[in-house]
Amino acid sequence: MSLATREAFNGFRRSPVLSVLSIMTIAFSLYAFGLFGLVALNIRAALAQVEDRVEIRAFVADGTTAEATSTAAGDIGAFPEVQSVTFVTSEEALERARKDLGEFSDVFEAGILPASLDVQLKPGFRDPATVKAVADRLKTYDFADDVRYGEEWVQKLYRIRNIATLAGIVLGLAFAGVAVIIIGSTIRMAVLARAREIAIMRLVGATDGFIRSPFLIDGAVKGTLGGVLALALTWVSFSLITRFVITAQFFDVRLVIAGVAAGAVLGFIGSALSVSRHLRNV
């Protein structure tokens, strides 16, 4: 084992209380970040589900031949924004309306609802401007009697989405900033606790790079352990919320790995900043 690695682990052995406190501090700041991430993730997932329902319905005019409708459907299906086009017959429309309206299902009679082409857009093309543009193009077709897509609803959805994204970025950066500051301060304590050792290392001719390396390993290890602990806390919170409050979605494996890696990176950066500051000042 290299001296730097040994020294890093000796740091844990020599001041276990400080080390545990450091790990806990890192864990709790990442836990706060994790909870926020979980909320952001679920809001995003909920919005994505709603977004999936954005569709344009082009009602087929009476007297339009099946062939003309089919040609138009193929034509529309080739639009770059369009994910799928579904032909809904008058009967299917009635069936759907009955299902949606439950106890009022008997108010409709056969033939009252027109057939339609239901156009679903690809993700990324569901913003109000694109939806409107596609709807306008559909209106130019002869078969289209009327084209509807819930303009106000789409606009509201996008406003909420934009606010959620902006709030996510701002709060996320704030949480990350706080985490970096807390982790940096925590590691600074570890650096100060070993100031004597650092002074002796410098005195006997150790290079700054050499002095720094055990602290960088120390920071990365504490960051990783803090990240794992934060993950466990987030998981427990998630389980409780899912069980007692609302069914939610947890981070996928990639995000879990990224979260723990972020702990390691934050620990590493916090250490690097603290040690460099200390070395500059002594």
Binding site: R14, R196, I200, M201, R202, L203, V204, G205, T207, F210
Partner: protein, 234 residues
């Protein structure tokens, strides 16, 4: 080995610590630095191991100039020097042998060379039986011997000692001083700051006396205290 040329050093809080000090220490000399507290003794020593840089003038130590040296080269210079202090500066949570081995490890000595070297150094300072003791289990004199062994770990050409006997009783002082004389006899240059005028008188070594940041006496140049110095030096 050491050459100070019109060196001035000022600290922001305490003001001028050294004023146009010039002197030369040849290889193999044993030189005392004396003077009252605040005279500039420790500043001279710090300048020698480049823990501080002169504001004006030049310090040359072991072939390295304070003017030309780059920050990355300071560790290289320090590997040629051994530094000891009044308060020993040992790592309390490590054994005697670990304290000495530490100096070798952090300067990249081959792992298999460390144990035999530490054993040799401990024998040299008379502490072969205390290898596994912790500093707190040793007397002040013994702790200073450990610090000396650590200072010798990288085979320095110059040992810088800042009041090494300041915390020791008379017997321990004699022992530590004799050890430094032996090291000097083996060819290592030694500069030692001290308040102990009895020790200085008994030792009959060259003495540089400082007062208020100026060099006021250099027994090597047979000058008297208070005599005018042509360039504040030598």
């Amino acid at each position: 080995m050491i050459r100070f040329t019109r060196v001035t050093k000022e600290f922001p809080r305490t003001g001028v610590a050294l004023r146009e000090v010039s002197f030369h220490v040849a290889r193999g000399e044993f030189v005392f630095l004396t003077g009252p507290s605040g005279a500039g003794k420790s500043t001279i020593l710090k300048l020698c191991y480049l823990d501080a840089r002169p504001d004006a003038g030049e310090v040359r130590v072991a072939g390295t100039s304070s003017v030309a040296i780059r920050g990355n080269d300071v560790p290289k210079l320090r590997r040629k020097l051994g530094v000891i202090f009044q308060n020993f500066r040992l790592l309390e949570d490590r054994t005697v042998e670990a304290n000495i081995g530490f100096a070798l490890e952090v300067t990249g000595a081959p792992a298999d060379s460390i144990a035999p070297k530490v054993a040799r150094l401990l024998t040299q300072v008379g502490l072969a039986s205390k290898a596994t003791a912790f500093p707190s289990e040793l007397s002040g004199g013994e702790q200073q011997r450990v610090a000396i062994a650590r200072a010798l770990a990288n085979d320095p050409v110059l040992v810088i000692a800042d009041e090494p006997t300041g915390n020791l009783d008379e017997r321990a002082t004699r022992g530590v001083f004799q050890l430094l004389r032996d090291i000097n006899a083996a060819g290592t240059t030694i500069v030692m700051a001290t308040h102990d005028l009895d020790l200085v008188k008994r030792a009959n070594c060259r003495t540089l006396e400082l007062n208020h940041g100026s060099l006021v006496f250099d027994s090597g140049a047979a000058m008297l205290a208070g005599a005018p110095l042509a360039e504040g030096s030598t």
